[in-house]
């Protein structure tokens, strides 16, 4: 192909002009998009509302919450801590937060300790989603937000975590703890008794499937299905899901109330699990008996727990092995009755 010397330069210059314009156009588009961000829109609307106390530039608002996470929620949720904006006419996201539970002051606790999400983000779609997943974080709203209580509290009677406590009680009463004890390492790895605390965050769909049809998540699973248990009790299913979600949340280490942790499930007595004759499965456990019987070797309590519980003497009524376990409990749970050594 021969190049026309005379016209070549002119054509090239034309091409150069076109490409320069194209590049400029793209950069202008990027600049425009960057100027019209969602949070800027919200802040303008907030100013229009007349709710900004003084004429000050807002910009990105961030602070570090008690769990040492940086959050930017109040860049858009400008009225969250403002009591004068609690009226219903105030549109979201400016409305004040409904009366928080006592002691959970926004200034100290922030938002994401309870609501989860991606607190460093500034677009609502991403900020409300679990980090890196693109899916709305279930902790965002009631009732699943109650799972966040477990970041600092053991499920108990305090106000605000009723459904979490119900979920915890279901965990024990349905016998989940038999195969998935809440001790380190679980019962035996993935196939039989995963340590549920080591699962990492799973979606609600995954957790629900693992209760209703475990082989959907995991073809080799030997876990029995609890579909019939929850068939007519959808709220109970949600309660248990809330508790399961709470198991994988990172404990908020900074400034946690240690005394709080000693209440709750630690006070539940043994008969919640060990009901029936000589501690064997019965009643609610019956339709799962064959499954448990197959694993009698591993689950048989008499291996660890001696057959006899002394009826009299110093440790009357207390299993000697439990006595051994309790020694460790006192390290954190100082309100449990102290047990002397053997």
């Amino acid at each position: 192909m021969a190049i026309d010397h005379s016209k070549d330069a002119a054509r090239l210059r034309a091409g150069l002009l076109i490409m320069s314009l194209a590049l400029l156009l793209v950069l202008v588009l990027v600049a425009l998009r960057s100027c019209r961000t969602e949070w800027r829109g919200h802040q303008t609307a907030f100013r229009v509302l007349g709710a900004v106390p003084e004429e000050r530039a807002l910009g990105i608002i961030q602070f570090e919450n008690c769990a040492k996470e940086m959050e930017r929620c109040t860049t858009c949720h400008l009225g969250a801590a403002r009591e004068d904006l609690a009226k219903d006419e105030i549109p979201l996201p400016f409305r004040a937060h409904p009366a928080p539970l006592a002691h959970h002051v926004h200034k100290r606790f922030g938002c994401s300790v309870c609501h989860g999400g991606t607190p460093r983000a500034l677009e609502s779609e991403i900020a409300h989603a679990a980090p890196g997943t693109g899916r709305i974080d279930p902790l965002h709203r009631q009732p699943h937000i109650q799972a966040s209580c477990a970041r600092c509290h053991v499920p108990g009677d305090q106000p605000g975590m009723e459904r979490l406590k119900k979920g915890a009680e279901l965990y024990l009463s349905l016998g989940c703890a038999i195969c998935h004890p809440l001790t380190r390492g679980g019962r035996g790895g993935w196939d039989f008794g995963t340590d549920l605390r080591a699962l990492g965050r799973k979606s609600l769909a995954y957790l629900e499937a693992s209760l209703v049809d475990p082989t959907a998540n995991f073809p080799q699973s030997t876990m029995p299905s609890f579909a019939t248990t929850f068939e007519n009790h959808p709220e109970a299913l949600v309660d248990l899901l809330i508790y399961l979600e709470s198991l994988v949340l990172e404990r908020a280490e900074a400034r946690c109330n240690r005394r709080d942790r000693s209440q709750g499930l630690a006070g539940v007595n043994c008969t919640t699990c060990h009901s029936g004759d000589a501690g064997r499965a019965s009643g609610r456990f019956e339709h799962r008996c064959p499954y448990i019987l197959e694993r009698e070797e591993q689950l048989n309590c008499s291996r660890c727990h001696p057959d006899s519980v002394p009826e009299s003497g110093e440790h009357r009524g207390i299993c000697p092995v439990v006595r051994e376990h309790r020694k460790g409990c006192n390290v954190c749970h100082d309100d449990l009755p102290k047990v002397e050594g053997s």
Binding site: G186, R187, G188, G189, T222, Q298, V321, E324
Partner: protein, 207 residues
């Protein structure tokens, strides 16, 4: 003082009175091209001359030059070797090789416990304790338990209950480690001391 002033005056007189006339600056494209081509040619000619016209050097001079080159070379090599040694790590960030697993009562007999933070499986059979890695020996992914033993989801390696390779790209069995009990009753493991697969350390009476 006077002498210096006179010297300075003399020096000033020696400098040339005006700058030399510069050649005319090329203004058209052809002239620019021609000038560059001429410069290229002149450069080539000079280089050609330079290579041919070097005077023969004495053997002493070549020797000294060689010594100089080797000295510089040695310095460079030494610096490079030192830099490489600097990059070799002497201290390590990771978890310690020996660490306690806990009390015997923490582990139910006849069970396998996975410690995720340590990537370790702990097996208790009666009073015997064993520990082996949960890292696949192919490329380090975490294996999971299956009916026949273990399975690695990364590339499909399969191991039996003791960690020996059944199939897949792994070549070595899951490594077992030395386990022992301290006088205070706690069980310790040393991941730096491999032991044959299936080794269980029997512990004394207790839980």
């Amino acid at each position: 003082m006077g002498k210096r002033r006179r010297k300075r005056a003399a020096k000033k007189k020696k400098t040339p009175p005006a700058e030399e006339e510069k050649p005319p600056v090329p203004s058209t494209e052809e002239e620019i091209l021609a000038e560059e081509e001429a410069a290229d040619a002149a450069r080539e000619a000079l280089l050609g001359q330079g290579e041919g016209s070097a005077a023969p050097q004495s053997s002493r001079r070549t020797f000294l030059v060689r010594v100089g080159n080797w000295t510089v070379g040695a310095c460079v090599l030494g610096a490079a070797a030192g830099s490489l040694r600097l990059a070799v790590p002497d201290f390590f960030d990771g978890p310690p090789e020996r660490f306690p697993l806990g009390l015997p009562s923490d582990f139910k007999t006849g069970t396998l416990t996975w410690l995720p933070d340590r990537q370790l499986f702990v097996l208790r059979e009666g009073m015997g304790f064993g520990a082996f890695s949960s890292r696949c020996t192919h490329l380090g992914c975490t294996v999971r338990r299956t009916a026949e033993g273990f399975f690695c989801p990364c590339h499909g390696a399969r191991f039996d209950e003791q960690g020996s390779v059944l199939a897949g790209p792994a070549r070595k069995p899951l490594p077992w480690f030395w386990v022992w009990a301290e006088p205070d009753g706690r069980i310790w493991v040393d991941t730096g001391k491999p032991v044959p697969p299936g080794t269980l350390t029997p512990l004394d009476a207790g839980d």
